[in-house]
């Protein structure tokens, strides 16, 4: 019998006491992006750190311009430039220790390079000769992630696993302003906070998700404010102030390392170039807006500070620029070499152990390649795949056609139209084509 069945018997009491789960005030970001360069606090900055940041920024800018040039020469399929965002890219790499992990998005090849990976390997995805061009375990850099924000839960899982193991490993995960609208951003931050995972979420708010400005992306006071909803601190920093970004990220990393849980850092910066070489930014923003941001350039800001304090002279600046030119020349030379492609790699590492279906398809491709390269050798090449194919009626036919000769099918006539070799000519466009410029490919 419930209380409702006894009119007049219900005695209301207050509900069980409600309390906030955590105090929101300390989690709130500052009202203004945190800045150091050009303020009184800059005097206390470590000269060695400033020089180091400066050298990396100069080389980072040159790397961006070189990579963009490589798209025009058809040596990169596409390049999403981080010009104007070098302070963020460089600082993200420099705040990490050797055992830490970096989780970059597709715009973060500069951070990958700053972490110590070979630029040619970092650009493999964008050159298009493979997906991930480096061994992620080598420098603890996850694959460049193209699906937005999907790498953030990976960072959480890895950091969680490290924490369970008692390892002092921090994961720093990079995402853009557009990526913060994705569901995976929400899920990752929530998991990280609940699990107290040692993760730093680093949002580069560069103003645009391709063409869509931040105002159409969020109604939040700032992206950093989103942290409060998850129960983690949010920090807002000037993304073009390399010293400030380094400081804020560094604090977040060490807090995570000390089991203080995750932090969300929003760096306010600007994508000076278009989204990629295939984008036309004049359709959605004014030159005046771009020029205003060029006047707040991360390299110029840092150079002014170094000059003001007498930490660098013209010769020092020239030396850094020369070093950047050497890096760019080396990158250009190496990217001008044709990528070594082995089409048979397509079938490698799909599974730990190749399935029968894939063995058969690999044999087909091998026969096609043999026919392409040396038509007269196709006869001998076809023997091997024929053995590999499982004993089926039609498998011999497929191989025979691709190799440019009719197969001896059970009824012979099945292969009558096989002499056109059409499959072979198709694959010669696809697999062996030179590295051509593909403007619209993203």
């Amino acid at each position: 019998m419930t209380v409702l069945e006894q009119p007049g018997s219900y005695r209301p009491t207050p509900p069980p006491a409600w309390q906030p789960r955590t105090d929101a005030a300390p989690l709130l970001p500052d009202a203004e992006p945190y800045r150091v360069l050009g303020t009184a606090a800059a005097d206390g900055l470590d000269p060695e750190l400033l020089r180091r940041l400066y050298g990396r920024l100069v080389r980072g800018r040159r790397y961006n311009t070189q990579a963009t040039a490589l798209t025009r020469q058809g040596r990169l399929a596409v390049y999403p430039s981080s010009t104007g965002q070098e302070a963020c890219e460089v600082a993200a790499a420099l705040v990490l220790q050797e055992q830490d992990w970096l989780f970059p998005s597709y715009r973060d090849t500069l951070a990958v390079v700053a972490r110590g990976l070979d630029p040619v390997a970092a650009l493999t995805l964008l050159r298009g000769d493979w997906h991930t061009g480096y061994d992620p375990r080598e420098r603890r850099v996850a694959p460049l992630s193209t699906p937005l924000a999907t790498q953030l839960p990976h960072a959480v899982g890895l950091a969680h696993a490290a924490r369970l193991a008692g390892d002092e490993v921090v994961a720093l995960a990079m995402v853009g302003d557009g990526g913060t609208s994705e569901g995976d951003f929400h899920e990752a931050l929530n998991f990280a906070a609940v699990w107290r995972a040692p993760v730093v979420f680093f949002v580069q708010n560069n103003g645009f998700a391709i063409s869509v400005p931040l105002a159409k992306q969020t109604a939040a006071p700032s992206l950093a404010h989103k942290a409060v909803g998850y129960g983690m601190p949010g920090r807002l920093v000037d993304g073009n102030d390399a010293a400030a970004v380094h400081e804020v990220l560094g604090e977040a990393v060490e807090r995570a390392r000390a089991d203080g849980g995750p932090t969300l850092v929003e760096a306010v910066t600007y994508r000076v170039e278009a989204h990629t070489n295939a984008d036309d930014a004049t359709r959605y923003r004014s030159d005046a807006e771009v020029e205003a941001w060029r006047a707040h350039d991360p390299i110029a800001l840092l150079e002014a500070e170094l000059t003001r304090r007498g930490l660098i002279d013209d010769e020092g600046i020239r030396a850094e620029r020369d070093a950047a030119e050497r890096m760019a020349a080396d990158l250009r030379d190496r990217m001008n070499e044709d990528a070594a492609l082995d089409p048979m790699d397509l079938f490698a590492n799909v599974y730990a152990q190749q399935t029968a279906q894939l063995r058969e398809q690999a044999a087909q491709l091998r026969a096609e390649l043999a026919a392409e390269q040396q038509p007269e050798a196709a006869e001998s090449a076809v023997e091997e795949p024929a053995r590999e194919a499982s004993a089926g009626e039609a498998s011999g036919q497929a191989v025979g056609r691709a190799a440019g000769r009719p197969a001896q099918g059970p009824r012979g006539s099945q292969a009558s139209h096989g002499s056109r070799g059409s499959q072979g000519s198709q694959s010669s466009q696809g697999s062996y084509g030179s590295q051509s410029s593909q403007g619209e490919r993203r």
């Binding site: 839960p153 490698a348 730990a352 089926g392």
Partner: protein, 348 residues
């Protein structure tokens, strides 16, 4: 199922155990053997999962090994990716078939291709357990057969048990695999029972071998998961018609055991593929095509499919009209041109 029930099952070799208990035992044994194995999902901790498959694991191995996660499937599988990158072997529970869809992007864009895109540097030894299929009176979004989506994603293994012993053996094999495995658990067989073998059941190795559940000579029924008992029942009923049907339980949809299937069809000359998943674009089409390509000259009739209708999964009070049953299987067998009487329209 309670912990006590599982303990009893463990101690009393001959006592019948359910498929759910066998799955629980597989998880328990695997976790005991390998500390890298972590179970995570919704309600897998104190509750033991809504089907009790993770019953007792959090108590036995601690909440760090069997973890109640926030309610977010992409987050669960995405976190599992990162855990695997760090050397763990996560076993993820998706609560129901249709609740696994939010994790689809992680599965397709990362889990399935991580090994390939990193040239083998980052394998993904992740098992994704998904209760699937209908027949338990579930309301909307609780009865989908989602295997075709997974099968269409290169890089995944897709397996599903139909027997209690296979539930144990296949799950052990899935967890031991260095590749991601979508492990589909037929919901309506969770309570099916079998005597526990006196010697503990063994992992099925390797993944990718079908099992002939009933040898026969007239025609081959090719099926998996929840439809295996249906086909076995149909095969028994068919003896009255004079048909001796062979029943092949695929056990693994990817890799597909073409060898066993084709050997059977070449012997019988006739084949029907049976599954709950919608027919159009479903596994049956792929299987029928393969049989036709490989066994054409051994076939005495077109390969037929008995599948769920191409409709959103029906409400529970109507689902019996949707699910392939014994009669529908026998009707298909009857259409296999037994007396060369095939005429236009004679085949569905």
């Amino acid at each position: 199922m309670t912990t006590t029930a599982v303990e009893t099952a463990r101690d009393t070799a001959r006592k019948p155990v359910t498929m759910g208990q066998a799955l629980n035992r597989a998880l328990r044994d695997a976790m005991a053997e390998d500390p890298a194995i972590h179970v995570l999902g919704e309600d897998v901790g104190a509750l033991g999962g809504v089907f009790r498959v993770t019953d007792g694991l959090a108590q036995e191995f601690g909440e760090d090994r069997c973890t109640d996660t926030p309610l977010a499937e992409a987050g669960i599988l995405g976190a599992a990716v990162g855990m695997a990158m760090y050397g763990l072997r996560p076993v993820v529970e998706m609560q129901f078939d249709a609740f696994a869809y939010p994790a689809f992007e992680q599965l397709v864009s990362h889990v399935s291709r991580m090994r390939n895109r990193t040239r083998g540097a980052l394998p993904m030894p992740i098992t994704v357990r998904v209760p699937y299929g209908g027949g338990i009176g579930g309301v909307e979004h609780h009865s989908d057969s989602s295997e075709a989506y997974y099968m269409a994603t290169p890089g995944l293994h897709v397996v599903t048990p139909a027997t209690v012993a296979d539930a144990y053996g296949l799950l052990r094999a899935a967890i031991a695999s260095d590749d991601p495995v979508v492990f589909l658990e037929p919901k309506r067989l969770y309570w099916s029972k079998a005597d526990w073998p006196a010697d503990r059941p063994q992992p099925v190795d390797p993944i990718g071998r079908a099992a002939v559940r009933r040898p026969g000579t007239s025609a081959t029924l090719i099926t998996y998961g929840p439809s295996v008992p249906v086909c076995l029942e149909a095969a028994e009923a068919a003896t009255a018609e004079g048909w001796d049907l062979e029943v092949v339980d695929l056990r693994s949809l990817v890799p597909f055991d073409e060898e066993t299937v084709c050997a059977s069809v070449r012997r019988t000359g006739r084949a029907v593929v049976v599954h709950e998943s919608p027919g159009f674009g479903g596994p049956g089409g792929e299987i029928a095509a393969r049989i036709t390509e490989r066994c054409f000259h051994h076939l005495d009739a077109p390969v037929l499919r008995v599948a769920g209708f191409d409709i959103p999964y029906p409400p529970p009070m109507l689902e019996r009209h949707h699910l392939p049953g014994v009669d529908r299987v026998l009707d298909a067998v009857a259409r296999l041109q037994w007396e060369s009487e095939w005429t236009e329209g004679g085949v569905r």
